[in-house]
């Protein structure tokens, strides 16, 4: 929400599940959806004497992400016990990172193609590696007073990415999340599936206001329970408005009486935030270094190697597509958002037809629509990028017009035919120029009214001739017919 009377200040904490086969500190499976309590062992259910061993792959995925977020990677990092009691936390502590996280001081650039906000860099305070808790379920069916606990998820590796409070609107927060998710997908470190809990978002939000007594801030609220990016945007808009109304009414300031941080949950059905019960003394975690885990030392050489081996990332790809293929930032955004395979497909089509704009239009309209209707991914798409490029090349050369090309495309997809096969099946042959010229000459002679209209400056009257030409020869290229007819009329 934007409002003259206040500025919204938002910071986000994102938990991302890293794509490993096994858990962070034991070798139980991380697969989602297994029957309850079938993927646990003495380490992840906190049996006395069990010893955790760090998953090397999880550390590498976390490192790759931190480097891509332009974070500093300290040479030395360690893990700490964050202690609290909760039924889904069998060890009685979470293994997290307290004072020496594996990465810090990075940033993520965000922008909006439609210009809703100015491009900016959102600071990343830190990204650290920790283990997940289990899942508690309320047994409503049996209407019993118990909760049921499934510990399959316990110990799954999470990367917690904490942003600076650098976002100034719900739209910026959403853009940050979309860009972060895209980055994580391109890095191949997480599937980012929000429904399965692979990506979770908590937000901290308050307002800065100008008053006659100077600048003041409202108490910080942590908003939880947002299950989609849209929910995040709505929850934050709602919360900004709520805090402003509350300020008008009661003038409670950050740090003043009643101005401590509180937690609220988003109710997506009613579209409001509601106060959440605070975990008792939850802030007293008594962190200390986990004596069961040894530190990890990462030398600069290794960090540089990770940096060198990063594949091209969304921000760089956008720049490359815009400058090389002369398409708009809106178009690049749509293409890049579809993922790396789609970008590769686009580049092949654009290179092979030599027209980046035409390739972009076709991919955004025909290809995306076909993929969606057939529920296919671009890797499964039966029309190869080369043959689509071949088709578009012929459109550029005037061999066939755009609407006939769509018929050809549809046969290439449905019948899995080559461009040649589809064109001959549809009886499409290029009409040679002399045949087209004599056809146009006949039409001009037969339609004096049209000629008169065109001569009076009603150039749209030429449409009638195009229609007649198409009736006589469906392969007549409308643009060519128009050009030739206008030339003949002009020479009369």
């Amino acid at each position: 929400m934007t409002h003259d009377a206040f500025q919204t200040i938002i910071g986000l904490e994102v938990h991302v599940q890293l794509q490993t086969q096994t858990k962070l500190f034991c070798r139980c499976s991380t697969a989602f959806g297994a029957p309850p309590n079938t993927q646990t062992c003495p380490v992840c259910i906190g049996m006395p004497g069990a010893l955790p061993v760090m998953n090397g792959k999880a550390y590498q995925l976390a490192l790759r992400t931190a480097v891509a977020l332009h974070c500093e990677i300290p040479r030395f990092t360690k893990w700490d016990r964050k202690q609290y009691y909760y039924p889904d936390l069998p060890k009685g502590y979470q293994i997290s990172q307290f004072d020496l996280p594996m990465s810090q001081n990075g940033h993520l650039a965000i922008s909006d193609p439609s210009g809703v906000f100015e491009p900016k860099k959102v600071g990343i305070i830190r990204a650290h590696l920790e283990d997940d808790a289990g899942k508690s379920m309320h047994d409503e069916a049996a209407s019993k007073a118990d909760s049921r606990i499934d510990l399959n998820r316990t110990g799954t590796p999470l990367l917690e990415i904490v942003s600076e409070p650098d976002m100034r609107s719900a739209a910026e927060a959403r853009a940050y999340l979309s860009e972060l998710k895209l980055l994580l997908m391109y890095l191949d470190v997480s599937d980012c599936n929000m429904q399965e809990g692979s990506l979770r978002v908590d937000a901290n939000i308050n307002l800065h206001l100008e008053t006659s007594h100077g600048k003041v801030a409202t108490p910080i609220v942590e908003v939880k329970n947002m299950n989609s990016f849209r929910a995040v945007e709505r929850a934050l808009s709602y919360e900004a408005g709520r805090q402003f109304e509350l300020w008008e009414e009661r003038h409670i300031q950050l740090g003043g009486p009643g101005g401590h941080k509180t937690t609220r949950g988003w109710d997506d059905e009613v579209q409001v935030t509601r106060p959440q019960r605070e975990k008792e003394e939850s802030s007293d975690y008594r962190y200390f270094p986990d004596p069961d885990l040894v530190p990890v030392i990462t030398e600069t050489d290794h960090v540089e190697e990770v940096r060198r081996n990063l594949d091209e990332l969304p921000a760089a790809i956008r720049k490359r597509l815009e400058s090389k293929y002369k398409i708009t930032s809106y178009d690049t955004d749509v293409i890049v958002n579809q993922g790396r395979d789609f970008v590769d497909f686009y580049v092949t089509v654009a290179e092979s037809c030599g027209d980046g704009k035409r390739a972009s239009n076709w991919l955004q309209q025909d290809v995306l629509r076909t993929l969606k209707e057939a529920e296919l991914s671009i890797e499964e798409f039966p029309v190869s990028a080369d043959s689509l490029g071949d088709l578009l090349n012929r459109v550029s050369a005037g061999d066939l017009d755009n609407s006939r090309a769509k018929d050809v495309f549809s046969r290439m997809f449905n019948e899995q035919e080559s461009v040649e096969e589809a064109m001959s099946a549809l009886g499409i042959v290029k009409v040679d120029t002399s045949a087209l010229e004599s056809l146009c000459r006949e039409l001009v002679t037969a339609n004096p009214k049209v000629v008169a209209d065109v001569q009076e400056g009603k150039s749209q009257a030429i449409g009638a001739l195009i229609g007649q030409a198409r009736k006589q020869n469906s392969n007549a290229n409308p643009a060519e017919v128009k050009r030739i007819c206008l030339k003949i009329i002009a020479s009369l």
Partner: protein, 96 residues
Amino acid sequence: MSLSRKEIEKVSHLARLQLSDPELDAMTAQLANVVEYMETLSGLNTDDVEPLAHASDISNVLADDILKPSLSREEALANAPKRDAECYRVPAVLGD
């Protein structure tokens, strides 16, 4: 530095230890002794000593990301004070 009885009450609550009044008194005195003993360390000059995060001198103990068998559900739930066919059962979790 000495510990107050109030601090001991708080710490025992955080650790979910239910201590009787005499136990709390005893703990207050005993833990205060421990803390006081540790205080002697702050008399040392540690200017040239690097902070230590682990008692041993090893680092980078990392395992390959390769599945190993988990416990069966029956084994996993064997010690649960309360359970059903699939899950641990605990008193209702509030606030979620």
